[in-house]
């Protein structure tokens, strides 16, 4: 386990370096002059010149990378030109929002997805199975923004039960916070649940036909014990991987859902930054989410050890 962990950790540093080079390099490929985009509609030549100098845009690309990477190593991710705030501060401001949304969405997805997946596998070819499949198809094929707007119209405009959009900090008012988050979390969770359900179903079907499950049943174990303790535990391995990947994706921001529900998370931050050519924000946020993604993968690898004893040997 330790050797494995050491190997995985050692691979993280070069990965992060490559990621930083890619983030920086890809951004250079974006067409358009950031100074011009940021100068606003007046396009004042003095302002453009000032922005070029301030962000080293008149220097060669390797030099610019060195400026940025040097700052990152010192914990300085730069400053947003558009609103003049440090990127680190923006990340810290958005992170709790994004994490909360991701946790709630993944929670909803896991409950629905795994539950429906198990039901679908255990009651294969019955009405439960078909219903779960129809549900999965619905989740996969419903665009988030469309479902989001419909839910807003139903729960906020017509019924008046929930706020239409916006965000309230849980430390300010937990009740209002949950009210504001339930719809976006459901919209995101609904889409993710579909994938989880399909994976759970196929993994469970595979495991349920395995010899040890037959043995367990032959021993006369209760069917619930067979399914939940023996079958599900093994079937969970691919689900954990998928869940970790989905969580990573959620942390990088749910662009459309955040836009529809006006949730001030990473998705909105990064999209606005890309369109405004706010380079420091794009680079900082992408580097941060990439690092989180890498860490989550590592955690998923470690979770295998916990779930599957065979991997410990």
């Amino acid at each position: 386990m330790l050797a494995f962990l050491a190997r995985r950790l050692a691979s993280i540093l070069p990965t992060l370096f490559l990621v930083s080079v890619m983030i920086f390099g890809l951004q250079q490929l974006l067409p358009g002059d950031p100074a011009l985009a940021l100068a606003g509609e007046d396009a004042d030549p003095n302002v453009i010149a000032h922005l070029r100098a301030k962000f080293h845009l008149d220097e060669p690309v390797p030099m610019r990378y060195a400026h940025w990477a040097g700052g990152v190593l010192h914990g300085d991710l730069g400053e947003s030109v558009r609103i003049q705030r440090p990127v680190t501060q923006l990340i810290l401001e958005k992170l709790p929002v994004t994490i909360e949304l991701a946790v709630l969405a993944l929670g909803i997805a896991l409950v629905i997805g795994i539950g429906a997946g198990i039901a679908s596998a255990v009651f294969k070819d019955t009405v439960w199975d078909y219903a779960a499949n129809v549900f999965a198809l619905w989740g996969l094929s419903t665009p988030n923004f469309w479902l989001g707007i419909l839910l807003i119209l139903l729960f906020a405009v017509n019924l008046g039960w929930l706020p239409a959009s916006g965000y309230v900090s849980p430390f300010e008012d937990l009740g209002e916070n949950l009210k504001a988050m339930i719809l976006p979390a459901f919209v995101l969770g609904n889409a993710l649940a579909a994938g989880l359900m399909r994976h759970t179903r196929s993994a469970m079907l595979q495991v349920l036909s395995a010899d040890y499950v037959r043995t367990a049943r032959a021993k006369g174990l209760d069917e619930r014990v067979v399914v939940l303790r023996h079958a599900l535990r093994n079937a969970l391995i691919p689900i954990v991987t998928l869940g970790a990947l989905q969580f990573g994706e959620l942390l990088s921001g749910a662009v459309l859902t955040e836009q529809v529900f006006s949730i001030p998370g990473f998705g909105k931050l990064i999209v606005d930054a890309v369109f405004n050519r706010d380079y420091s924000v794009v680079q900082g946020v992408v580097l941060f989410t990439a690092s989180v993604y890498i860490m989550l993968n590592l955690l998923a690898d470690m979770a295998y050890f916990a779930i599957n004893p065979r991997m410990r040997s």
Partner: protein, 502 residues
């Protein structure tokens, strides 16, 4: 039955759990997230809406675009029009309690002119120096007479920030702006909200009826409207034209409509670069044929759902500066075809660069279809905004659909677009005669004389057609029917003075 009772119970519980409506808070839904909240550095239209609550200006505009004093009590031009003396209103303080006096005004104008990255430097270029005559009087010395100066001072260049706070915060001032408007800054959560609270020391406090203003940027117009309908917002700006008929019928809301001071038009690359050397649009007859081929009224009906005024100039026909000697031309396809034949290009083909939003693309498609009737073959190139701006700046385009948010003085819609080598002259148009007239209107303070100069400029520029102006959008506001005292000033700013929730 039990299920029904449960639903009723939960519905009641949810309704009771909703927060009581705070009567003294006004929640305004914005169409975008503003940029930096420092009047010297700010560059967006939406940012100006927030400044309307935060920072008073030396001058303001009224509903008819007349310039009226705000922080200035009175003003006087020198006999040679080369300096402007402004008497500052007495008893005005900044949100940090500092006094707004002549020294503070000088500090602000100097800051606008010298701060690194200032967006106001160009606007105030003719101001060479500022003298403090006494504690409440300043004199702006100019390099020459400059007619648009008062209008410039009725926008961000006339906003005054606290010198003490500005010196202390340096270039971080925007994180906690301190001005002298009716509301002071409380907090900003990027892309979420900007909160202001009533400044008790405001000089015009009798006009202020709210304790708190919350600006919430909600980009999606449907969601913005849903928030208004569900009672989470009291006011939304830029309602989608498609939602307009329904919201007007809803008794819970009131609506206001303003014709913008900006415009939407098509820029032609006439001489910006060699890129368009072979482009047919360099021939003025082709541009004239293009204008004759399009039906502006139909464009407004299809693209804007009638929520725009057709126009052919840098100001709308309803604007007092509109040059009546060049009216909006009617569509005439036969004449357009004849012109193209005369130019020897019966089927001119060019690329029209436009934005990626559905509205921008719909506009381009309608233009494409109309121009086809006259023989044009227009290809549409949907380009993301920052990229298109870069291409326009380098002159790597043939035609470009562009909108301008507009300035109160026509000079702001004209000079930088048609003056030789000016920053936003993306067309490359350079006509010495127009340049001379543009400079003359700047030094002519008599409005009647100035209007004659604009008429002469219109006669030349609208014949040369580096830009074919199409229409002027309506700013569509929808708000709680209990809200009264709203002023509809064409600059599209939401003025909070006099606003009241009944």
């Amino acid at each position: 039955m039990r299920l029904k009772s449960a639903i009723v119970f939960f519905a009641l519980a949810a309704a009771l759990a909703l927060p009581a409506h705070a009567q003294k808070t006004l929640r305004i839904g914005l169409a975008e997230d503003p940029d930096v909240l420092d009047p010297t550095l700010a560059r967006t239209f939406v940012g100006r809406i927030v400044f309307a609550g935060l920072c008073d200006k030396l001058f303001d505009l009224d509903e008819k675009l007349n310039i009226v004093p705000q922080l200035a009590a009175e003003y006087k031009w020198a006999a040679d029009n080369k300096s402007l003396t402004i008497k500052i209103r007495q008893g005005v303080t900044f949100h940090d309690g500092e006094k707004l006096d002549a020294e503070a005004v000088k500090f602000n104008l100097d800051r606008h002119k010298t701060m690194q990255g200032s967006n106001r430097r160009g606007e105030l270029a003719p101001v060479t120096s500022v003298d403090v005559l006494d504690s409440s009087t300043v004199r702006l010395n100019l390099s020459g007479p400059f007619a648009p100066l008062l209008a410039v001072l009725a926008d961000r260049a006339g906003m005054m920030v606290s010198p003490k706070a500005a010196k202390a915060a340096g270039d971080k001032f925007s994180n906690h702006p301190v001005c002298s408007g009716p509301f002071k800054f409380v907090e900003r959560v990027a892309q979420d909200r900007i909160v202001l609270e009533r400044y008790p020391g405001y000089w015009n406090k009798a006009q202020i009826n709210f304790d708190k203003i919350v600006y919430l940027p909600i980009v999606d117009s449907t969601v913005r409207l849903a928030n208004l309908k569900s009672g989470q917002l009291d006011f939304i700006e830029r309602t989608a034209p498609s939602d307009w008929p329904a919201i007007q019928k809803d008794k819970r809301f009131k609506t206001s409509k303003i014709v913008e001071i900006g415009y939407q038009g098509v820029d032609f690359n006439v001489a910006k670069s060699d890129f368009a050397a072979k482009s047919p649009v360099r021939d003025p007859r082709v541009r004239e044929a293009f204008e004759l081929a399009i039906d502006r009224q139909a464009i407004v009906e299809v693209v804007q759902e009638e929520q725009a005024d057709v126009g052919n100039q840098w100001v709308a026909p309803s604007n007092s500066w509109y040059a009546k000697n060049v009216p909006v031309p009617k569509r005439n396809v036969n004449r357009a075809k004849a012109l193209l034949r005369e130019a020897g290009i019966p089927n001119p083909s060019f690329t029209l660069m436009t934005g990626t939003t559905s509205d921008a693309q719909r506009l381009a498609q309608v233009i494409q279809a109309m121009a086809r009737d006259a023989g044009f073959d227009i290809k549409i190139q949907a380009t993301e905004f920052a990229t298109s701006l870069n291409m326009a700046d380098k002159g790597e385009y043939e035609a470009y659909v562009l909108a301008w948010s507009g300035r109160a003085d026509p000079d702001g819609n004209l000079y930088n677009f048609h003056g030789c080598k000016q920053p936003t002259n993306y067309t490359g148009y350079c006509n010495p005669q127009v340049d001379e007239l543009l400079n003359r209107q700047r030094v002519t303070l008599d409005p009647a004389e100035r209007k004659k100069l604009f008429e002469r400029i219109a006669a030349i520029v609208l014949k040369d057609r580096p830009i074919v102006y199409l229409f002027h959008r309506h700013w569509l506001w929808a708000y709680n029917a209990k809200l009264s005292g709203l002023r509809t000033v064409p600059d599209g700013m939401v003025r909070l003075q006099g606003l009241k929730m009944n």
